[in-house]
């Protein structure tokens, strides 16, 4: 069976990260989202993958190439105009029209392998299958009604306030006749699903493990936490240099070539990517992911944060409940304030509007290649656009 991963879309709500990368190239717990999907597909025995790309596609091509180093064959299909999922899928017709295939939305993340489940349901029922799950809020997704045989009996795009159903989880086993249906429904994929449901053909496969759709920047933190929570063991590369007394507890993962200075405490689960450096007396707390080639200066504290890679965190900084894009450099004494004094809910000024996050702890979201001078304090929920340069905070 072949799989198609939709990785072309530009989703502005994920600003400030989406301007400089496509969603599947967001690095979570040390791996890109797309890397995770490819790994799970390979584990489920699927080696031929069609990638639909457009926005920031060079980054994808550069990292994954032909897929050889990841043990799969990748075929790239470019969606020149971003005209939705149905359109993206219709472009893959020549690659997929002979046999049933897996459709994977490129922006969802799971902690365990969902493809094994969906393929099992497909093989048992010999029907088209949709993975369905129960998210914390079903408002953003297509809601489904299940009958007693776990076939989908109804779809509701915009659910009412008093209902919270299972939703499409962005993974399907589809038959090639979908392409005719797409042509008939002007590439409107929702109408195709509706048609399949009406003809009583779409089987559901329940996914009860972790599942996150990346819509807002704080979902990166949720996904990071979900992945790290599934870690059972510590993995420390043999080339890691622990200089003097370094205290390590829990599921800590450290890549090759990392140096950690004396007095530092690592409380897992946390991740430090290859060739990074952590200065003396730092505290790396749970759910911190430090991307490769990064530097964390002396006496800094990190907690529940994602650093994409090639980051500098200046000495005596605090980074909590925050996401730093690639190449973000900050001077000494940076503080990300992660709650209001009254622990109220934090709103986030995204690209378009002020969005209520519903969270009482949230730090800052800093786009790729931002430079922040020394001694800055970033308020809860602040967003810094990519490539911005903020001068040192100097009092004299």
């Amino acid at each position: 069976m072949k799989a198609v991963i939709l990785a072309a879309n530009l989703s502005i709500r994920l600003s400030p990260f989406i301007e400089t990368r496509c969603k599947p190239m967001i690095r979570i717990a040390g791996h890109y989202i797309l890397e995770n999907s490819i790994f799970f597909l390979k584990e489920a025995g699927i080696h031929d993958i069609v990638l639909v790309v457009n926005h920031q596609q060079d980054m994808v091509r550069q990292y994954f190439g032909s897929g050889q180093t990841f043990g799969v064959n990748l075929e790239y299909v470019v969606q020149e105009k971003l005209e939705g999922i149905g359109h993206a899928l219709s472009l893959c017709r020549s690659s997929l029209e002979k046999k049933p295939f897996l459709l994977v939305y490129g922006d969802v993340m799971t902690d365990y392998n969902p493809f094994l489940s969906i393929l099992q349901t497909y093989s048992e029922t010999d029907r088209e299958v949709a993975l369905v799950t129960l998210p914390e809020s079903s408002k953003e997704f297509g809601n489904v009604y299940l009958d007693h045989e776990m076939k989908i009996s109804r779809l509701v795009e915009k659910p009412q306030a008093n209902q919270s159903n299972y939703v499409f989880a962005g993974m399907f086993v589809l038959f090639p006749k979908i392409f005719e249906l797409l042509a008939e429904k002007q590439n409107d994929v929702s109408r195709c699903y509706e048609q399949m449901v009406e003809s009583n053909k779409l089987q559901a496969c329940l996914w009860e493990k972790g599942w996150i759709d990346m819509i807002h920047p704080w979902h990166i933190l949720d996904a990071n936490k979900m992945i790290m929570s599934s870690w059972q063991t510590a993995e420390i590369d043999s080339t890691v240099k622990l200089l003097g007394h370094v205290h390590i507890e829990g599921a800590v993962r450290i890549g090759p070539g990392v140096t950690i200075e004396s007095g530092t405490v690592l409380k897992g689960p946390c991740y430090i990517g290859s060739n990074s450096y952590v200065g003396n007396n730092s505290l790396i707390r749970n759910f911190s992911a430090i991307g490769p080639d990064s530097i964390v200066g002396y006496g800094s504290e990190l907690k529940n944060c994602v650093l994409f890679g090639n980051n500098d965190v200046g000495r005596l900084s605090f980074v909590g409940d925050s996401v730093f894009g690639e190449n973000v450099k900050s001077g000494s004494g940076l503080t990300t304030v992660n709650h209001t004094v009254d622990y109220g809910q934090i709103a986030c000024k995204a690209k378009l509007d002020l969005v209520e996050t519903g969270l009482t702890k949230l730090g800052a979201f800093i786009g790729d290649s931002v430079s922040i001078g020394a001694r800055h304090t970033l308020g809860p929920g602040s967003i810094v656009e990519s490539k911005k340069i903020i001068a040192d905070f100097i009092t004299l």
Partner: protein
């Protein structure tokens, strides 16, 4: 409690026999094993653990032979050890048996056999029988005669399947007190503790009665009476259960699957002919006194039923837990109505026997066909909910409650407590209930999941309700305990101020079963209790009905159900609580379908 099965075929049946006990695993799962006869040699493999665990060690599914027997065990006599696991071989290695039940006089027989230099490998009562058989055979050299001779020496309740090297073409089976059914295939025949043993292979079945034995070949079978030796003609049943409903489908647990099966279970309960419901209702009118009896979940079903009977038929009947039934002085003319999913529940069986001996009329609502209770009572209603595999009962309990509601309505009508119009309106609403349940299951799943996610860390719960919602709270608390291993205490909401209120603080969570606002007095009573908890800083979760602003204000989190018939409302709340227990257990990583220390049907005292 055990599951036994056997197959006689013209082809290799190792894999099928393995699947067969796997389908019976819910009957007990502390150890299992298989014996196959091939070229005059026995291959016996057994070990402790669940079926898949044992298979990983013993490779049961790779065994070869055209005839074999298998067993999955829930220990009654002797500890859980490899030696005590079935099948059991005789000391001269000529006979092998699997057995479900208890031989009550085995100690005495064991001593007699030991005097004859028989060496025992295990502590089980089963091994006594297999050696008794061997001793009998050495006297007669006739297998059937030896089988009967051994049977005449043992006492107790049992079902047995025996295989011997002296007759590699037949299985010898007997039923007395424990269930046993035959499955008839083409060129092959099956025997098993229940239909799940062979439903995958055939839908033609024969239910054996107590005191019957069978010599089962691949193309032939003969059923005879153990005492008289007379041949018995039995009718062949066609089983119309869908095999798929016995399997998990795409659900990760049977429990959730069975919750989603509930609309179907109610539909089946609605299909029970009204004449059958009337016959049962009439038994109440004729009885001088009547009792409801059940244990565990079915006891709570009995308690909920009390309220239905009292409201609809103006009659209070006591519900008694089967294990405490000895408190009741049963007299001729009384009626005892038993509730049991499996129809094998030990305490219920014993109490029914006591009721029968005392001259009472007996009736039962049971899910498993051919089970002991279904066969011993004067009148049985088969609820037809389909197999329930998860140890924790959901759909079967709900369907039983629904059937009791139908009986109460019928009795109310007979006694003139209900007008034709009211009766008709209720009947119409009951007809619509399956669809409503389907809607609730779909639309509320997400809310229930979220509350469970937020509260799965909570170790102590109070489940509270008034009137009929009190036994609903009790049953729901039991579900919670069974599947999450967290402490949940069900009690009447009115009880709080008489003591329990002293426990209330933020960490103590309360789940309130709030009646529809239409039941004003009841609603007020519940809300007063809820507000008492809230005022003392307790955390309150409510299962409420839409538009209930007062409850909404008093609760920290709610599940809101749509408006519905007042008789159906407690059932809908019960379903929500089942779902809540399921999701809480999921977050806690519990062994949902087989919670620790529990077996599907408790057939031991």
């Amino acid at each position: 409690m055990c599951g036994i099965s056997g197959i006689v075929h013209s082809e290799n049946v190792g894999r099928n026999l393995f699947n067969s006990i796997r389908n019976l695993e819910y009957r007990g799962y502390d150890s299992c094993g298989m014996a196959m006869l091939s070229k005059g040699e026995f291959d016996i493999r057994k070990n402790i653990g669940g079926i898949d665990e044992v298979n990983a060690i013993e490779q049961l599914d790779k065994m070869n032979g055209m005839i074999g027997i298998a067993h999955t065990r829930w220990a009654t006599h002797g500890g859980v050890t490899q030696a005590n696991a079935h099948p059991h071989l005789s000391y001269k290695r000529e006979f092998v048996i699997v057995h479900n039940g208890i031989f009550s006089n085995y100690q005495e027989l064991r001593e007699q056999l030991m005097d004859q230099d028989v060496v025992f490998e295990s502590l089980t009562d089963t091994e006594v029988f297999v050696n008794l058989l061997e001793a009998s055979y050495s006297e007669s050299n006739d297998l059937e005669k030896a089988f009967l001779a051994a049977l005449k020496k043992i006492e107790g309740s049992y079902s047995i399947v025996m295989l011997s090297a002296h007759d590699p073409e037949h299985l010898y089976c007997v039923k007395k007190g424990s269930p046993l059914l035959l499955g008839l295939g083409e060129g092959c025949n099956y025997v098993g503790s229940d239909l799940n043993a062979f439903l995958e292979y055939t839908r033609q079945a024969i239910v054996l009665d107590d005191g019957e034995y069978v010599v089962l070949g691949r193309d032939d079978y003969q059923i005879r009476n153990v005492q008289t030796g007379e041949v018995t003609e039995k009718s062949v049943l066609h089983i119309d259960w869908d095999v798929e409903t016995s399997k998990k489908g795409g659900y990760s647990h049977y429990m959730l699957k069975e919750i989603f099966d509930e609309p179907q279970a109610i539909l089946q309960a609605l299909k029970i002919p009204s004449e059958q419901i009337s016959v049962l209702a009439r038994m109440f009118t004729e009885a001088s006194r009547a009792y409801f009896m059940g244990v565990g979940t079915t006891f709570y079903v009995a308690n909920i039923s009390q309220y239905y009977f009292s409201t609809l038929a103006g009659q209070y009947y006591a519900s008694v837990s089967s294990d405490e039934f000895s408190i009741v002085t049963v007299e001729p003319g009384d009626l005892v109505l038993a509730l049991s999913q499996s129809g094998e529940t030990f305490d219920t069986k014993i109490s029914l026997e006591y009721a029968k001996i005392s001259g009472a009329q007996t009736a039962a609502i049971v899910n498993v066909m051919g089970s002991a209770i279904s066969m011993m009572v004067d009148n049985v209603i088969m609820q037809g909910s389909g197999p329930e595999i998860c140890v924790v009962s959901t759909k079967a309990a709900l369907a039983q409650t629904f059937i009791m509601l139908r009986v109460a309505l019928e009795l109310g009508m007979m006694k003139g407590c209900l007008t034709q119009d009211v009766y008709q309106k209720h009947q119409e609403d009951l007809e619509l209930f399956p669809e409503l349940v389907q809607q609730i299951l779909n639309e509320q799943s997400g809310f229930v999941r979220n509350i469970a996610r937020d509260t799965s860390h909570v170790e102590h719960w109070l489940f509270l309700g008034c009137d009929i919602y009190y036994p609903v709270a009790m049953e729901s608390a039991l579900k919670m305990k069974e599947v999450t291993y967290q402490h949940a205490e069900g009690m009447p909401a009115g009880f709080l101020k008489h003591g329990t209120l002293s426990m209330v603080e933020k960490a103590l969570h309360s789940l309130f079963f709030v009646p529809p606002m239409g039941q004003k007095v009841l609603h007020d009573r519940t809300l007063i209790a809820m507000e008492q908890v809230k005022a003392r800083g307790g955390t309150v979760i409510g299962i409420i009905f839409q538009g209930d602003e007062r409850a909404l204000a008093a609760c920290d989190q709610v599940v809101e159900l749509p408006e519905m018939n007042l008789l159906c409302a407690p059932l809908a709340q019960m379903i929500m609580a089942q779902m809540f227990a399921y999701y809480a257990a999921l977050d806690l990583g519990r062994n949902i379908d087989k919670p620790r220390n529990l077996a599907k049907s408790v057939t031991v005292g």
